[in-house]
């Protein structure tokens, strides 16, 4: 029997791209589809996906869950679970369009949810932790159900296929967001199901990633101590959990988190000014097992911004660019030029140096 993603490690090469309009103006998903299609040869048709921020302005105060169901039983069980823990503000099947090369799609549903106040209070958890644990329980405990997006005013859309096909499948031209990221996957095995595609998301965090990290099991076995369960066995999943742990639970800044996972070499740190040296040394002493080695370039999406980060040796290509309020990140410059030929500035960020683009206000 064909193994599903999560039952094995599936190393992937990939294309990533991202855009943000820092003035907060909405862009349709169409641009992203165009951008990623330039990098067609970096994907192999076994996974594509998008994350859009600011796409649900009418429901911005509710958690938007996107779910894959293998069948009706999974949906029934999941909806029963959701009802026990949340108020369902709105639920519907996600509108898709038939694309001949996109096949084997599961049932795809969307729910806008608010935690039940009494349940939340009884849990003694803060709201985000409560929601994150519910997501984890559905994914681990309910067979055939998978939450692949769970943030507020954002959504992930993904599946097996080339990213441009997946974009059209989800009718992304009908959504408008201030930021988008996109991923085209080149896995070395077939993922077997749609949950294996990227971006990977947790609450409003999303990660698209290119590369295969060599520290995977060291990172996984460490982060699983803190209640995370790496069910997909992908690099993207473990990177998302690490960032969630460092940012949300440890309260680090984005730059500090970047200096933890893509820490400068000790020899480089030794040459920095004393204050920086002290802080970066401290981060490496505090979280040594969260250092990520091996090639990676990631675009990390969160409410209000995007962060681009390369591994410390810069083993993957990544380009950033700006044009007015818009900022772009992509594996290749051509993917940016395709949607904005006249850029103000283009540059390749150094390995381990985060580039952060945030909304102006």
């Amino acid at each position: 029997m064909l193994l599903r993603e999560g039952q094995f490690r599936n190393p992937s090469g990939c294309a990533i791209t991202g855009v943000i309009d820092r003035s907060g103006k909405g862009m349709s998903g169409e641009e992203m589809i165009e951008s990623i299609s330039v990098m067609h040869d970096r994907s192999n048709g076994l996974g594509g996906g998008f994350a859009g921020y600011g796409i649900y302005p009418h429901y911005k105060d509710f958690y938007a869950f996107h779910l894959f169901y293998d069948g009706g039983a999974a949906q029934e069980n999941t909806e029963a679970f959701i009802k026990r823990h949340f108020e369902i503000v709105y639920a519907s099947e996600i509108q898709t369009r038939k694309i001949s090369s996109v096949t084997d799609e599961p049932l795809i549903y969307r729910y806008f949810l608010a935690p039940l106040p009494r349940k939340l209070a009884n849990s003694h958890l803060d709201e985000k932790e409560y929601v994150a644990r519910c997501v984890n329980r559905i994914n681990v405990e309910i067979k055939g159900a998978y939450v692949f997006s769970s943030g507020k005013n954002m959504g992930i859309f993904k599946g097996v296929g080339y990213p441009e096909e997946i974009g059209r499948f989800y009718r992304l031209e009908e959504y408008e967001g201030y930021a988008w990221t996109c991923h085209g996957r080149y896995p070395t095995n077939t993922p077997g199901w749609w949950g294996g595609a990227h971006p990977f998301g947790l609450l409003d965090y999303s990660v698209v990633h290119n590369g295969e990290i060599s520290s995977y099991d060291a990172n996984r076995r460490y982060i699983e101590m803190f209640g995370y369960k790496c069910t997909l066995q992908t690099d993207t999943e473990v990177i998302t959990y690490i960032l969630d742990y460092l940012l949300r639970r440890q309260g680090l800044t984005l730059t500090e988190a970047a200096k933890t996972i893509a820490a400068s070499f000790w020899t480089t740190i030794a040459e920095k000014d004393p204050a920086t040296r002290e802080q970066e040394t401290l981060l490496r002493r505090m979280y040594p097992s969260l250092l990520i080695t091996g090639p990676f370039s990631i675009i990390f999406g969160y409410e209000g911004g995007l962060m681009a980060l390369n591994d410390r040796l810069k083993l993957r290509s990544m380009v950033c660019a700006e044009k007015g309020a818009k900022a772009y990140i992509a594996s290749e410059e051509s993917a940016i030029r395709k949607i904005e030929p006249a850029l103000d500035r283009v540059w390749a960020p150094a390995g381990g140096e985060p580039v952060i683009f945030e909304l102006y206000q």
């Binding site: 490690r9 995977y216 070499f265 000790w266 979280y287 091996g294 090639p295």
Partner: protein, 502 residues
């Protein structure tokens, strides 16, 4: 009746090569070699030979070799010559069999059944000669919650840690069990390499206080040489609960080895036995360990990490979990193949479990309980090479203790006769004429050579895996595969079988 026990070895001299220089005679503290003036020839009494190879190595004409004696008892797979001889020895003496160094029995060596990964295509190997390859690390507690000062900068709330240039430390060997020159060699090498050596339970010689920042001092059940300055001189303090070569029993350094200088260091009178009780009599339960950990922290004002060293025994994971909750900063686990200056044979050969299994169990248990961050783990008890180190770290160790390998670098030939105090290599002896054979300049350099080479090999293997920091190798079990292992062994080691993909 005293039963004659034939020697296991025979000293063979090639008379054509021997020029009767009598070096062998002068070098052998066991008086194997003698000169027969009438014959004008050298003679050898093989019965006294411990097979330490000193004479073989120093014979200028290479006229000597030691071979296994072909004198045999009737072949018997059950009653081997060794077993029979042990019965004779005990019937002769009524004594407990005493031996030294690590378990020589053919127990499985799991290191040799574990293979390491390398990158091909999907991620790149890294060239350690040209790109940075970090083997530096810190040992100690890491569990912390990020806190900030008024300026928003992260505060250093970590407990004290030890910085190492490579994931290797010299394990505890006391002054008394090994010589002054051996200790000096270890101390100087540790300083030069940016790592640590360990005093063992014999106190710290006043000459070696200057190596304090590279010294771990031990507090064992006998508390020899333990006093305020000793504790304060060190970089860290190790509470010795047990030792892989002799789990569950104490130590006994015979009075003959308590020379003036050893007595000074141990702070006990000369010529009196130094006995370490099996338990610390102030620790009969885990909360008492916490009491000793904290009494040491109080006495040193919380400035030094506290290690707790235990032997790998059946329930090691639960014990380690208890230690991780006791306030200790580092747990050192010593496997059943670890060395010793003297241990009852039956204990050495039959008690405890291999380090590979113990380490894998402990690391996994601490992670399952979410407390792996409370402590660092040091694995020891037969770490023989850089590849053993790499495998130990991928299984979950932070660093490795080496003892026997370090002694080999100093000249030890594993004759396993340390308890007799006649070490011809000047290592496990207190006889001045033997001790002076080990030149600390040479000894330190050989240790530096060994570990510099190992460090380079570790970097090569890390580079092959595409890992450029030792920290990203720690617990990275996907980098390991087993061969010739049972399902149970694979399960305990937490690794897949070779050929199983990711």
């Amino acid at each position: 009746m005293e039963m004659y026990i034939p020697s296991e070895y025979e000293v063979i001299r090639d008379d054509k090569k021997c020029n009767v220089c009598r070096v062998c005679e002068r070098q052998c503290a066991n008086a194997v070699h003698s000169y027969d003036a009438k014959l004008g020839k050298m003679l050898a009494d093989s019965a006294k030979c411990v097979n330490c190879h000193r004479c073989v190595c120093l014979c200028p004409t290479h006229a000597l070799k030691i071979v296994k004696s072909d004198d045999i008892y009737k072949a018997d797979a059950n009653w081997t010559a060794q077993t029979i001889n042990e019965v004779y020895k005990q019937a002769n003496s009524g004594g407990v069999l005493l031996s030294s160094m690590g378990n020589p029995q053919p127990l499985p060596v799991f290191w040799d059944k574990i293979l390491v990964n390398a990158s091909q295509v999907t991620n790149p190997p890294i060239d350690p000669l040209r790109e940075p390859m970090e083997t530096q690390l810190y040992l100690g507690k890491r569990r912390t919650k990020a806190e900030r000062d008024v300026n928003g900068r992260l505060k250093d709330t970590l407990a004290p840690q030890l910085r190492l240039n490579m994931p290797i430390l010299f394990s505890a060997m006391s002054y008394g069990s090994i010589s002054y020159n051996a200790h000096e060699s270890l101390a100087r090498a540790a300083e030069e390499l940016g790592i640590y050596y360990n005093t063992g339970e014999g106190g710290l010689h006043k000459d070696f206080y200057k190596y304090g920042k590279n010294t771990i001092v031990q507090v064992a059940s006998g508390r020899f040489g333990v006093f305020k300055e000793y504790l304060e001189s060190a970089a860290a303090i190790e509470i010795k609960m047990g030792q892989g070569a002799k789990p569950g029993i104490g130590g006994h350094l015979p009075g003959a080895k308590i020379t003036e200088d050893v007595s000074l260091t141990r702070m006990i009178p000369r010529g009196v036995d130094a006995i370490s009780p099996a338990p610390h009599h102030d620790i009969y339960s885990i909360e008492d360990l916490r009491q000793l950990v904290y009494s040491l922290k109080e006495a040193t004002e919380y400035k030094k990490p506290i290690l707790v060293k235990i032997a790998a025994v059946h329930n090691v994971a639960a014990i380690a979990s208890g230690i991780a909750r006791s306030g200790a900063d580092i747990i050192a686990i010593d496997g059943c193949r670890g060395g010793t200056g003297a241990a009852p044979t039956r204990i050495r050969d039959n008690v405890g479990i291999p380090i590979e299994l113990a380490l894998a169990e402990v690391d996994q248990r601490l992670r399952e309980e979410g407390i792996r961050d409370e402590v660092s783990l040091i694995a020891g008890g037969s770490v023989r090479s850089s590849s053993d180190v790499v495998k130990a770290i991928a299984l979950g160790a932070d660093a490795c203790y080496i003892g026997t390998a370090a002694l080999l670098a100093l000249g030890c030939h594993l004759c396993r006769s340390c308890h007799q105090g006649n070490c011809n290599w000047g290592i496990a002896t207190q006889k001045p004429e033997l001790v002076k054979r080990l030149d600390p300049d040479v000894g330190a350099q050989r240790l530096v050579n060994l570990l510099t080479a190992w460090n380079h090999e570790i970097q090569e293997m890390m580079g092959g895996m595409g890992i450029n920091s030792i920290e990203a190798l720690r617990g990275n079990r996907l980098m390991l595969r087993g061969v010739g292992l049972t399902d149970t062994e694979l399960k305990i080691l937490g690794i897949k079988y070779a050929g199983e993909s990711l």
